[in-house]
Amino acid sequence: MDLNPTSQDGALVLRPAGRIDHATADAFQAALQPHLEQARAGAAPVVLDMQGVDYISSVGLRVLMMAARQAHDQQGRLVVAGLTPLVKEVFEISRFNLVFEVYDDVAGALAPKGGGE
């Protein structure tokens, strides 16, 4: 899976696309893993811009959880932005909105303060 990495305001922005489910979660995890080292103390957060993600299932959410945990262990941050309405609902129903930093868009994720929900 190509995460189309770019740099914005000094932060790494990753843009997964399509469905993240049992068919694609392993590829998503493999693609995400090399970028996680950039989530470290003092660095800008690694941002997952999810505008292109149509759907994320439980196993995809688990990949996010594990990645966020690794970032936290490294004193860094992994945040998500740009959730489509459907994915936003999945986050809310699964309560991932309570354990993840969720922002309306990448700019909000990189703003000095807040913008999150």
């Binding site: 049992h22 299932s57 439980s58 959410l61 959880m65 609902e89 699964s94 354990v99």
Partner: protein, 317 residues
């Protein structure tokens, strides 16, 4: 077949408190403004048709106990505290006539056996109670629960004939007129689900079962276990975010995984069960609405009906 739920709460029984009941009454009365409720019929219609279940009722507080009426001999899943009202109901239905009961045990943790000493049929001579399960410690757990100093009546004093039947997971049995297949589940000390097939219908009882969402083999095994079931009674105790983080390895699952597995298995009805004891009625009702919405937005085939079990719920299968 008919399913009757006698205990649906997870881990420990709970009781409604006076403040909680008062809050329900206040909410109910608040909705009467401008209505003419001048007869018992009008009041009942208002309660039944205008009030939501979490206001007019309760999901209940007894721990796990489910009755399946599929033939002449009653089938029961687990002996949680719901076994007490079930026992009273059995006496009302059968009077003093000797009866054989078949009980399938998910496991022998406290909340699943605590109702047994209060299940009145165990004190009536002539009754036969066959306790089926896959744990080698099955009999020991029941005997130990009633040993001094924990209970005043020792197991040896029970008047009914109590039998223990050790089953092998994955093997199909013919018991009480139904086909039963136990399945090993992930839970501390192991637990077992039961797939019941009879009269062309299928009910799966699967509680105290944690699902590791990244375990592909386990996922596929449960899809096969649930395949085509009319009803799956599913441990949906936690939100997914909790189940795979702070409550990982606590031995329970989530509404999200319940929907995903049941959709993949072509199940007709998901019945969420083993409710978190910290949740009040409003919270469980909200989880039910959210789960129905999740099913709707993830549906790719036939609709999966989602219900939430409550003490007193009856489902025709």
């Amino acid at each position: 077949m008919k399913i009757r739920f006698w205990g649906t709460r997870g881990s420990i029984p709970i009781a409604l408190t006076a403040p909680a009941i008062r809050a329900k009454i206040v909410a109910a009365l608040a909705g009467t403004a401008g209505r003419t409720l001048d007869s018992p019929q009008a009041i009942e219609r208002y309660v039944d048709e205008e009030l939501s279940f979490d206001i007019r009722g309760t999901f209940g507080g007894h721990s796990s106990c489910v009755e399946l009426a599929a033939g002449a001999e009653p089938i029961i899943f687990d002996f949680g505290s719901g076994a007490r009202p079930l026992g009273q109901s059995m006496l009302e239905r059968h009077g003093g006539a000797a009866q054989t009961y078949h009980v399938f045990m998910s496991h022998v943790h406290w909340d699943h056996i605590m109702g047994f000493p209060f299940f009145a049929p165990v004190y009536i001579p002539g009754n036969r109670i066959v306790i089926h399960g896959c744990h080698a410690v099955l009999e020991q757990a029941f005997r130990r629960q009633q040993a001094a100093p924990s209970f005043p009546v020792d197991f040896s004093q029970l008047a009914a004939r109590i039998e223990f039947d050790l089953l092998v997971p994955g093997k199909r049995y013919r018991i009480a007129g139904v086909d039963v297949t136990p399945k090993l589940q992930r839970h501390e000390g192991d637990s077992y689900g039961y797939r019941i097939e009879a009269q062309g219908r299928c009910v799966v009882y699967s509680t105290d079962s944690e699902h590791k969402v990244d375990d592909i083999d386990e996922r596929q095994a449960f899809i096969e276990f649930f395949r085509g079931a009319d009803v799956v009674i599913f441990d949906a105790m936690y939100a997914l975010a909790d189940a795979i983080s702070v409550k990982a390895d606590w031995g329970h699952s989530s509404n999200i995984v319940g929907v995903e597995l049941c959709q993949a298995a072509g199940v007709r009805r998901l019945c969420m069960y083993h409710h978190e004891p910290a949740y009040d009625d409003a919270r469980i009702a909200a989880v039910l609405q959210e789960t129905r919405r999740f099913e709707e937005i993830t549906r790719s085939g036939a609709r999966l009906e989602v219900v939430s079990a409550y003490d007193g719920l009856e489902l025709d299968v």
